[in-house]
């Protein structure tokens, strides 16, 4: 297999998913693509992780304990230093109202977990990273309250 680290250097992804078995496989596949992945199981932990490093992309589940994915997204988009970070919602929720709300709150894309294959999902991730306004670079940090 081609060395993935030679293909996609420097892209950081923050993965927010509360189901451990899903987080594990998503991280495995994203890491195999050559991305640097930080994984957390809640919106609160995601907010903490943003204090250490600003990712190029946040992959966000919605159905999370305590702070929901929607609340996290709202908070992110209201934050001056973080509002430009691309967010890709990956959720089991597929109601039209959920999709509309996710996109209105500023997510770049809304993907329903079972609607596309893993390789299709990885293609979307690759595209969003290419479009990302933050270029691959050394550690960026932002003042996160």
């Amino acid at each position: 297999m081609e060395d993935p680290n030679l293909r996609k250097p420097g892209y950081r992804i923050l993965l927010v998913e509360d189901e451990e078995f899903l987080r594990r496989i998503f991280k495995l596949r994203l890491t195999a693509e050559g991305y640097e992945v930080t994984d957390v199981d809640s919106g609160e932990a995601a907010w903490e992780a943003l204090k250490d490093s600003v990712p190029h992309l946040i992959i966000l589940d919605l159905y999370l304990p305590q702070m929901s994915g929607f609340e996290f997204l709202q908070r992110l988009k209201a934050h001056a230093a973080l509002s430009q970070v691309a967010v890709l919602i990956l959720s089991g929720l597929g109601q039209d109202a959920d999709i509309r709300k996710g996109l209105e709150l500023g997510a770049k894309e809304y993907v329903i977990k079972t609607k596309i294959t893993p390789s299709e999902f990885l293609e979307i991730v690759g595209r969003l990273l290419k479009e990302s306004e933050l270029r691959p670079n050394p550690l960026i940090t932002a003042a996160v309250d």
Partner: protein
Amino acid sequence: MKDEFISIASHQLRTPLAGLRWYTSTLAEGIAGALSPQQTELVKVMENCVGQMTTLVNDLLDVARLDQGTLTLNQVKIQPRELLAEVAHTLESKARRLQVSLLITEEGSLCPPVHADKALITEVLRNLVDNALKYTPENGVVKLSAQQEGQSLLFSVSDTGVGIPEDSVDKLFRKFSRVENPMSKRERGSGLGLYFAKGIVEKHGGTIWVRSAPGQGSTFYVKLPL
């Protein structure tokens, strides 16, 4: 209440199913290590079963959305050509795997934009293309096109597949209607995709129909008002 039930059911069904799909695909692609030929064969069967279960769950949830009557359209301006490219893009790898050519004919580039719910119409077209791939043998062709017809936009998805028997055409858009696929190794549909497609197209004020003959392929048409 019904909304909330569907929403929770959707999440609870999709979570383990997504796990199955991702783990199976990771095994099948050799990302967790190379498989023996026999293991590869077994994992392929698993992938097929997971694919069928996924289609069924997705379609059941879509139909629940449609039948509960609360589905509202979020209509935006869509460039037909871009829409077709997006649909083709998501099914490219499947077409390659089945050795079927997936083509977009050029008329689409001349079409005016159409006002439609992008997510739902994408799903309708994706459904039609996915069906066409399922029923088209190796070395066959599936073509997507869009063209203006007076005050309407006409999308079409044609294939060189096995075609549909005359007595099945009428019931094709009913719930749980399914045409037997002579290519038994291909995944089976849920029998709900075309029912959903019809409901969505009609909600847009459009129409959907098919022209087909056994052995001569099928063409599905979706006409939307401009």
